[in-house]
Amino acid sequence: MKQRYLLSGIGIATAIVLAGCSTTAPDSSGGGADSDATITIGSSYEPQNLDNTAGGGQGVSEALNGNVYEGLFTLTDKGEVVNGLASDFTKSDDGLTYTFTLQKDVKFHSGDPLTATDVKYSIDRVRAETSKSSRKSTFDNVKTIATPDDSTVVITLTSKSISLPYNLSYVWIMNDALKDPTTAEDGTGPYKLGTWKRGSSLSLERDADYWGTAAKNKEVVFTYFTDATALNNALLTNAVDIVTSVQSPDAIPQFENNADYKVNDGDSTTKEVLAYNDRVAPFNNVKVRQAISAAIDKKKLLTSVWGDYGTLIGSFVPPTDPWYEDLNSVNAYDPAKATALLADAGYPKGFEFTLDTPDYDPHPIVAEFLKSELAKVGITVTINTITADEWYTKVYQKLDFQATLQEHVNHRDIVFYGNPDFYWGYNNPKVTTLIDQSETSDTTDEQTAKLKEANEIIANDAASGWLYLYPQIVVAASNVTGYPLNGINSQFFAFNITKSA
């Protein structure tokens, strides 16, 4: 007997609307929404190219995920996985064979029909040798992809993978006839690509032949800014309707006290992390790491960086991950305990270490704060400022560091702690086992339980210092509604956005 999941006839667009209800900005009751409106979205993240397997960057997810390209599954703004181009799927009893049924009558923007071979082609692109997709390794256990008929795709795995549908939400399904996806598109989403003017803007036009519910606006223009002030000015002069992600609290008051704008405080997945090199002394000593956690007043830090925005989570898992739990009480702020732990660990007079600090906000401010907090318990911090590029070579590749600061943006990335070779070198066999087991779980409940357990161990071990979760602040003109608030994985679904005159 085969287990059946998500047996629903609901089209993907409906599913998104339903799932999105509680996290998108409420529709204005006044009506008067203009279904032929052009929505202008201000963003700091211009795509490098239009292909998410060729280093397109987060901008390409923001503009094209769910808007131009769709996956077999969709990750909603709440962090849930719902059916996309797959209308249904079954999993074999041994958990190694997944059979996906495709939605009917789906056409690419070029007019070609969606077939199983396009799906196979698209998944193979992500797995290919040349792929630069950050998700490539999640498909390492794919053995074969078969296409018994035009609307069926069968994926056989070498080991069980509960996250397969989730991982597939990252895979754009594109026409296998598309020649150069870095400069052109052929997806199935509610919008076609309009024009892309490098260094300036990218526009999307509503596809009249979309297979699902049509977009509620006619055109979406992503306008790109390198300067935050210029972006805010554009909003103030009505040159843009929405700013996808405000990067500094300084600009917020001018919008908060103005009825023409709405400031939305959503949940991001970006964690500010004080990552130790857990391989080297003194950070190979769990008590030292716990002491540092206890020595830092994270509430004060968050307030000084973000004012009233942002969240303390006490671990690496944000609230939009299914295995989130509030772990703020673990190794909580307690300077007296920090001093005692340091003495216990053999550092009664403290020690010195170098903190490799990326040179962009907020890391330098955070580093100064940590320096003064840790000085109170006798630890001397030397701040070494490096560029993002140097960080990548020195810290990430050469592992030549004692401790560093980094913002980790990904959703569901706790699995990094199950890899002892990851840059921070956290190595707890129990955690590695739990994380491996979570992936081979039969049910999502089982997966969630395993990852919760792992996260608690990681938190107790103070594997890293999790300082805070960035806020996701979307600022929009008051006459605009229906935009996503959390921006999970940098996605920005535009099809529900409406603007009233």
């Binding site: 060729a54 280093g55 002069t237 140097e390 070579t393």
Partner: protein, 321 residues
């Protein structure tokens, strides 16, 4: 004069080749690996080496230089490491913004600076002459981005007269919209540029006013203004033309700052982005085009000087014999 132009052209080409070598070498001195820009947290060793192969940073510096030279000769700037798009068309697309910005600013600055500079010199004893002179001192001291921010604050945010930044998506299809977008940036550059130009015009005029030929001419019965226009302008123009050439080149390169303040998709923002991403082909392309522009402007200024002042025609450098 023909021999002079030919000699000057040879100098131009040699300068261009030397500049290209410097551009190539300087970029390679930057710390870090261009492949890093393509990678994110979570990249595997295989992905890292694939990225290095794509950007060519796994090749020796001499191989990279060979490729670079071949590209220059064929006037092909290669493809961006980051976007994999050809650089040439992107530079052209951005020149559509930067060239008008530079030229309009330059023309406006000259229109402001030349009459005011002459007034500041001839009426230096009057209150307005002194005021112009003092204001120009102030103009030189003000950083260009600050002028930009002030203008945005007044004319865009408060008065809502002009856009605070950006450029139309369809470029010059609607010239009025494009000009509206360029108004504030052009004003910004022109204000700052005219201040320093004005100083040069003023001192060149003062030189002319103190000259023997002007005194002689006036003693022969010429009117003051008539003499100044007929003989003073031409003589005063020689040093000013040299300065104009330098100012025009500086404006072109200085557009980086203004383009950033006004989020204009010009060459300057392409350069800044290229440097931050280690996108060598993009940076090389922009610097090469900028260098070419600067050298051409210098060439033009030298020729113009010789047209204005026949005494210079047999010299190679801009100095009088």
């Amino acid at each position: 004069m023909t021999i002079y132009i030919l000699r000057r052209l040879v100098v131009l080409v040699v300068s261009l080749v030397l500049a290209s070598i410097v551009i190539f070498a300087l970029l390679r001195l930057l710390p870090g690996d261009p492949a890093n820009a393509l990678l994110g947290v979570g990249a595997t060793d295989a992905q890292i080496s694939a990225a290095r192969a794509q950007v060519g940073s796994d090749q020796s510096i001499w191989q990279q230089f060979g490729i670079f030279l071949r590209q220059l000769v064929t006037f092909d700037f290669g493809r961006s490491f980051i976007s994999n798009l050809p650089i040439g068309p992107e530079i052209t697309a951005r020149l559509v913004v930067t060239l008008p910005l530079t030229l309009l600013s330059f023309v406006l600055a000259v229109i402001i600076a030349v009459p005011l500079g002459i007034i500041a010199a001839t009426k230096s004893s009057r209150w307005y002459g002194a005021t112009i002179s003092a204001a120009s001192q102030l103009g030189i001291a003000i950083p260009v981005f600050w002028v930009g921010i002030l203008l945005i604050s007044w004319l865009a945010l408060s008065a809502h007269l002009l856009p605070s930044g950006g450029f139309p998506r369809d470029d010059w299809k609607d010239p009025a919209a494009a000009l509206r977008s360029l108004t504030l940036p052009v004003l910004t550059i022109a204000i700052v540029m005219s201040a320093s130009l004005l100083r040069y015009v003023r001192s060149a005029t003062l030189d002319v006013l103190g000259s023997d030929y002007l005194r002689t001419f006036r003693s022969l019965g010429g009117s003051f203004s008539g003499t100044l226009v007929r003989h003073g302008l031409r003589n005063g123009a020689v040093p000013v033309i040299a300065i104009l050439g330098i100012e025009l080149a500086t404006t072109f390169l200085g557009a980086v700052v203004v383009e950033s303040v006004f989020t204009l998709p010009g060459l300057g923002s392409m350069l800044v982005l290229g440097i931050s991403q280690h996108d060598y082909p993009a940076v090389q392309g922009v610097l090469f085009v900028s260098t070419l522009f600067v050298l051409l402007v210098g060439f033009g200024a030298d020729i113009a000087q010789r047209l204005v002042d026949p005494r210079l025609r047999d010299t190679v450098s801009g100095n009088r014999p």
